[in-house]
Symmetry: C2
């Protein structure tokens, strides 16, 4: 008699929130009832493909090796039971194969009762700014002294990642101010995405600048690198020096502005979701061009991303009859982006690191007086995937600790 | 009297294909007639925003500094003429500003007559494979000896970039086989995109593999990193050693397969454009998950990208009633991916570099016998933006040579 629970198809930990109590089956369906009364249905083909045995999953990599279309026929259930360990056991025809399923894993992947499997990892809260508003600020002074992947690193990173996932930004304080230290800081989350501006880029007034960012002029609210098919999902700006007058940082929730536009002027909103603008950066040795609406929606009409940067727009190439309405919508948006109620304003202090979602937030800065001191930020890009992966690992470690604690309790 | 042509708003070169002959205007429109009889209309606001003077463009960066919404009113045309240099001159009210437009630039951005401003840079040709098929192969043996951005570098890169843009792949031959040389090769096109697998990754059978790719088993046709929101647009695989039996490379045009599926089984095609599959890589220290259809279409119903990898699919979390039809469609696709007529097969030789579009092509490999020799590929990722930027630079340099030759002719 098997008393141990079977493996799961992945490396994750799956606490058992409820036990399997009863089941019924037909050739293409298994229906189970859990100890808390929930009923879940699983298709035979879904169970077959998601088994965790060595004919389905490469045990060394936990990646699938099964080729469904090479099976002798559509997988059907010849028998099913709940075994002594509490696992679901299914006999599959025509393969004549018995496979076992971990109840914690099964419950967590109950698509029959799932609300939204693609729900964001943290609750997304759109925000307005105004004179009283400030970014979530966290002391991160010990970050580089923690062991990577340790619980102490996690205690600093987890709330930071939650702010980025939920509000689109966080301000970490007390970090080192050595040039280049951003790379080591960023790697605590994931790999940096280099661009033609380098792995890290220096935001300061430079001779022979190849971007308005590298001057001391004001920058209007924008997303970075809108000239790319996939503009970076995440940006980090790390302050090394700041002793100038002016140069205040401005951040806006582009999604909040877009939703306000949808309410106030639905026609302008619709125009900006439809018209493809040209974003172009024709520099001396590179030539990036991409066409996209400024506001992109998903299949459900929800905001997917904003792509806004007046200084990186090339000549609009829209249908002749749409040009004037496109510009009218743009000017409505531009005026909203100047309303103080949307903006959070703050002054960078050396050791600050602002991490923000570059497909949701807009950032801007006031002009500064270069002769009065120095202003030096280092920046880099990353994908949002890295924030989500890192945050899932935090959640996994917490589940692992729950599973371990429960194991000790039961033993 | 001004006889020199005005600047353009960008760094590009704009040969003059036709001269401005006559014009008419109204407050919001300028209509011109060209020497070849074409008529083009430009809106006043479009002209105003795309001027190249110092109040509109930062001359140091060639990026826009004009804030349209800060103008005293909608830009209107108070007067217009063609000057002695052949430029379009427009007097704008209410600013009382005279601005000049370069005729070559104006003609190239004639949105009134544009067919498809977003047309691909090279003609896209879908392809089938079969036993006689072979990838475009080019001798690239001198590449690393050329000067970056030189005409000799361009003579090797230009046809390679054209193959990647048009057919989604190219095979370069005769490159060095030193480990790590891929980085220098890749940089001739643009910056590499690192991932959790590193800047370069080693495809060989490894102890304790964290991917099926790092074993000697066969890999079914797939795109890489489908577990990311933005899976890389470009992949490079560089052969350093290959003395094993087996391990043949297989490449398929995923767009050709998808179009064939659309013809043969429109319902399965539709299902695969609609159902969101879960792509997951829950490794020991990272946890990437993304939900997406396997075939994505643009607004016009044209193929945008494919995202296929059986070994990186997590548990499907679709609506209960869609699960069986989703699997039926998947199995139809899987069977097509095994049809030999779609596949190009070849054996990597040391010094080969295959560059391919990772959102269009699928790659696969046969199992190999690790004990019979060594098989070592190094790989990396890049964005398609880099191929397009590099190719636009090739086109720009050609235009510059044309402009220069014409200047010499006229002087």
């Amino acid at each position: 008699m098997t008393t141990a629970l079977p493996a799961t198809p992945d490396y994750d930990a799956w606490p058992i929130e409820a036990h399997l109590e009863t089941l019924t089956f037909s050739p293409r369906l298994v229906t189970v009832r859990w100890s808390d009364g929930r009923e879940s249905r699983y298709h035979s083909i879904w169970l077959r493909e998601n088994a965790a045995d060595d004919s389905t999953i490469n045990p060394a990599t936990r990646e699938r090796i099964l080729d469904l279309s090479a099976l002798p026929g559509w997988p059907e259930v010849a028998g099913a039971e709940i075994d002594a360990a509490g696992a679901l056991c299914v006999d599959f025809a025509p393969e004549q194969l018995r496979l076992r399923f971990h109840p914690g894993w099964l419950r967590a992947h109950d698509y029959d009762n799932a609300e939204d499997p693609e729900a964001p990892l943290a609750t997304v809260k759109l925000w307005h700014g105004g004179p009283e508003a400030a970014p979530d600020s966290l002391d991160a002074s010990g970050l580089l002294d923690t062991t990577p992947d340790s619980e102490t690193e996690e205690s600093i990173l987890a709330p930071a990642l939650e702010s980025v996932l939920g509000k689109g930004m966080v301000r970490l304080r007390g970090l080192p101010t050595e040039p280049g230290s951003l790379e080591a800081i960023a790697r605590r989350i994931g790999p940096v995405r280099p661009t033609n501006f380098g792995l890290l880029f220096d935001v300061k007034a430079k001779p022979d600048p190849d971007s308005n960012a590298y001057t001391s002029i004001a920058l209007p609210p924008h997303t970075d690198l809108p000239t790319r098919e996939y503009h970076p999902g995440l940006q980090m700006l790390h302050c090394l020096e700041n002793s100038v007058s002016g140069g205040q940082a401005v951040m806006l929730d582009g999604f909040a502005v877009a939703e306000a536009l949808r309410q106030r002027d639905p026609e302008a909103f619709d125009t900006l979701t439809r018209v493809h603008w040209c974003f172009a950066n024709t520099a001396r040795t590179t030539d990036y061009v991409w066409y996209s609406p400024m506001i992109r929606l998903d299949d459900r009409g929800e905001l997917l991303e904003v792509r806004i940067a007046d200084f990186l727009r090339g000549p609009l190439q829209a249908n002749f009859d749409e040009v004037e309405s496109a510009y009218a919508a743009l000017m409505t948006l531009q005026a909203m982006l100047r309303e103080p109620e949307f903006a959070i304003r703050f002054t960078y202090a050396p050791g600050d690191l602002v991490i923000f979602d570059n497909r949701r937030l807009l950032h801007a800065r006031d002009a500064f007086e270069g002769s009065s001191g120095h202003r030096w930020l280092q920046g880099c890009y990353m994908e949002r995937d890295e924030v989500r992966s890192r945050y899932r690992m935090v959640q996994r470690r917490r589940r692992e600790r729950r599973v371990a604690a429960k194991g000790q309790q039961e033993s």
